[in-house]
Amino acid sequence: MDAILLQILNGLDKGGAYALIALGLTLVFGTLGVVNFAHGALFMLGAFCAVTFNKVLSLESVVVDPTQTTAWGSPLEVRTPYVEAWLGDFGVFLHNYSVPASVIIAIPIMLAIGIAIERGLIQYFYKRPHADQILVTFGLAIVIQEVIKKFYGANPIPQAAPADFSGTAYVGTLLGMGDALPYPWWRLIYLLFSFVVIGGVMAFLQFTTYGMVVRAGMRDRETVGMLGIDIERRFTVVFGLAAVVAGIAGAMYTPILPPDYHMGMDFLVLSFVVVVVGGMGSLTGAVVAGFLLGILQSFASMNEIKSILPGIDQIIIYLVAVVVLLTMPRGLMGRKGVMED
């Protein structure tokens, strides 16, 4: 029983991450009609916001100690971090909480990057065929990736969760079920975080006038334009928003998956599958599909199931995608006419 509950919890946790990554992608699909292959790269850039922030916090003063030498004979360097020297306890605290704190830094950075990409590049591709969009955003993704590799190397760079949350929580105890269901704190926080972000984005689109106009634009861009509303500008903001969501999702994910320059590509296919299973341009669909795929993947990985169907965990995601698309023409919640040409 515990095993099943644990697997459900794990599925939710995975699903939260999937939904979060897919959210921005489907937003851009739905509003701008752009197939954004650089979305994974934005996720990766967010993760590197966390890395950079941590690096800045760990900048050290270097003093060469001539009395000691390294194994290859050059003098040993003694290093002390500036932040701790200047800010004392708060510096230590900040260093400890660098990952969540980096989200605050990531928001303006990713917004700026998103707007720059939309204004500088994507806006010229609204009316172009999807194939062109794929090529240009794929090219952009490679360029972003290679630039990061130039500065940070190819190896993963570990980011620690805050010490208070690096251990394991006993979810069973929290729910009054005794000493059961151990689960990492940081993953629970990520699940909560994904709920908050998804809820926030949906509320923004649902309950604000700004969001209403964007939704109207998703339905019928020309009419909204004719009403005298600068829909282009709103779409720019939507792209920025998508970049921010991808970015903070990436930044918060770093303690779970040590980031490297390639991580965006690793998530790209997965996020597309989630979006398409959910239905193009449907936010709710992406969220539902994210959790569905997360839970199914989690169960397919159990020994009991793998022993009956060997290799099922390797293909479950794609199998679900095929079944869903064949039984529901536009994914779980897709609208007619979106991306079908």
Partner: protein, 448 residues
């Protein structure tokens, strides 16, 4: 036409076999091939080597370190710098003036850690750039692929980092040589240390990368530990590049196992180890014993990516820059002075392979591939960082000391990740060459 080639090859082959069988002195063999040339034998005043390493993709940093080692090797071979391990290698025919009077030049290629790309790149180096030897790589899939290509083209392949038993087992080739140790040796080296540290009554749970390297390692470790009295609760296969391994780790919690063995390499290892530690496995007690995690093969460059998670974890390594022997010191010194960082085990094995090939050419007195192969087969040497080492003739595997290492609790800097627990002597690691099957194939020379 093909018939003619076949008889000619048959003749050469017969010559080579009888040469070996009669244990004829070198000069006889050399004379027998006097008019013969093999693929890309140098005619000018330089000889070209091909360094085929991953420059893009997840192993790009490891590839960059291998490339640094190769460039250093070329420097030392040409008599620049401080000579590194040429000074310590015993016996050596190297003089530090190039090889057989020719300066060493090199070309580079990108394997992308894909077998197709690696073979394309190797072919380019052979067909276009005239490379006479190919070396490098950081995965067994690529090593096996390039090795069989080299066998076909008649080019000697000095494998870089490859750990699968298959490279010198099932898929061994006459033209392929491996200095790095393998999964089987990791199992033998690691098992006694595991028994010492964790006791003989343990229940192990394997998470294994679902491809041939993972399988061979799982099998090797399983056999070695079960001989000690451990039992295996489950061995679960995980997809390559899964990223998030949590769905495989959660079942471990309730499985009753008290040791988790991660048969993962590179990025998979970084992710699964990081996540296993996050799940609190190392703080758990099961069956009244402290839960332990074991990573049979460390890639130390990648281990930096696991951060604190690697502390206290046992594993094996081919070599470490902190070893105390003269050769290691000399190599670490020249590498460190050149690049400002100590060499990784991948860099070490590549450097040694380059020197060994060069030395074999000197000893054979020719670049003619069959003669060089013969010079390498059964060659015994010392002073390359692993003690007395034998290049076994039957499978072209090196037999030498291997290390059991542990992630250091208080590293001095980011290079100081491992501490050496035990140096496992060569005798313990030697096994019967026939257990993995395979066939080296002929060493006939090829034209290209």
């Amino acid at each position: 036409m093909s018939k003619f080639i076949m008889t000619r090859r048959g003749l050469i082959k017969a010559g080579a076999v009888s040469g070996v069988a009669l244990a004829a002195p070198m000069h006889f063999v050399r004379n027998a091939f006097a008019q013969d040339t093999s693929c890309n034998m140098p005619t000018g005043d330089t000889v070209t080597f091909g360094w085929n390493v991953p420059q893009t993709g997840p192993y790009a940093d490891e590839g960059a370190d291998e490339l640094r080692a190769f460039q250093l090797a070329v420097k030392h071979l040409n008599g620049e710098g401080d000579g590194g391990m040429i000074q310590t290698m015993k016996p050596t025919a190297l003089k530090g003036n190039g090889i057989l009077g020719k300066k060493v030049a090199y070309v580079t290629g990108d394997t992308q850690t894909k077998s197709d790309a690696a073979r394309d790149s190797a072919k380019r180096m052979v067909e276009k750039d005239g490379a006479i030897m190919i070396s490098g790589g950081s995965s067994s899939g690529v090593a096996v692929a390039v090795q069989s290509l080299c066998q076909d083209m008649g080019i000697v392949f000095m494998a870089g980092l490859t750990h699968s038993n298959d490279t010198t087992g099932k898929d061994k080739k006459r033209y392929g040589f491996r200095h790095f140790f393998n999964a089987y040796q990791s199992g033998i080296a690691l098992a006694p240390v595991l028994a010492d540290e964790y006791g003989k009554d343990r229940k192990a749970y394997h998470l294994t990368a679902d491809y041939t390297w993972g399988w061979t390692q799982e099998e090797s470790i399983k056999n070695a530990t079960e001989e000690l009295g451990w039992s295996t609760v489950a061995a679960v296969r995980t997809p390559l590049g899964a990223g998030d391994f949590s769905q495989y780790i959660t079942p471990v919690l309730n499985s009753g196992a008290d040791v988790l063995i991660l048969n993962h390499y590179g990025k998979d290892m970084v992710n699964s180890l990081t996540q296993a530690v996050q799940f609190g496995l190392r703080d758990k007690e099961v069956n009244g014993k402290k839960f332990e995690v074991v990573v049979p093969l460390f890639s130390e460059l990648m281990a930096q990516g696991a951060g604190d998670a690697v502390k206290g974890i046992l594993g094996t390594a081919n070599w470490d820059w902190k070893l105390e022997d003269e050769a290691t010191k000399a190599f670490t010194k020249s590498f460190g002075q050149e690049y400002g960082a100590p060499p990784s085990q991948a860099a070490h094995t590549c450097y040694v392979q380059a020197l060994l090939y060069a030395d074999a050419c000197e000893r054979a007195g020719t670049f003619f591939a069959p003669a060089v192969i013969e010079a390498l087969e059964g060659f015994e040497f010392d002073g390359m960082g692993n003690g007395k080492t034998l290049y076994r003739a039957e499978d072209h595997q090196c037999f030498k000391t291997a290390l059991v290492v542990r992630g250091k609790e208080n590293p001095k800097d980011k290079y100081d990740l491992m501490e050496i627990v035990r140096e496992v002597p060569r005798e313990e690691l030697t096994y019967d060459a026939s257990i993995f099957g395979g066939d080296l194939g002929p060493s006939d020379a090829k034209q290209c």
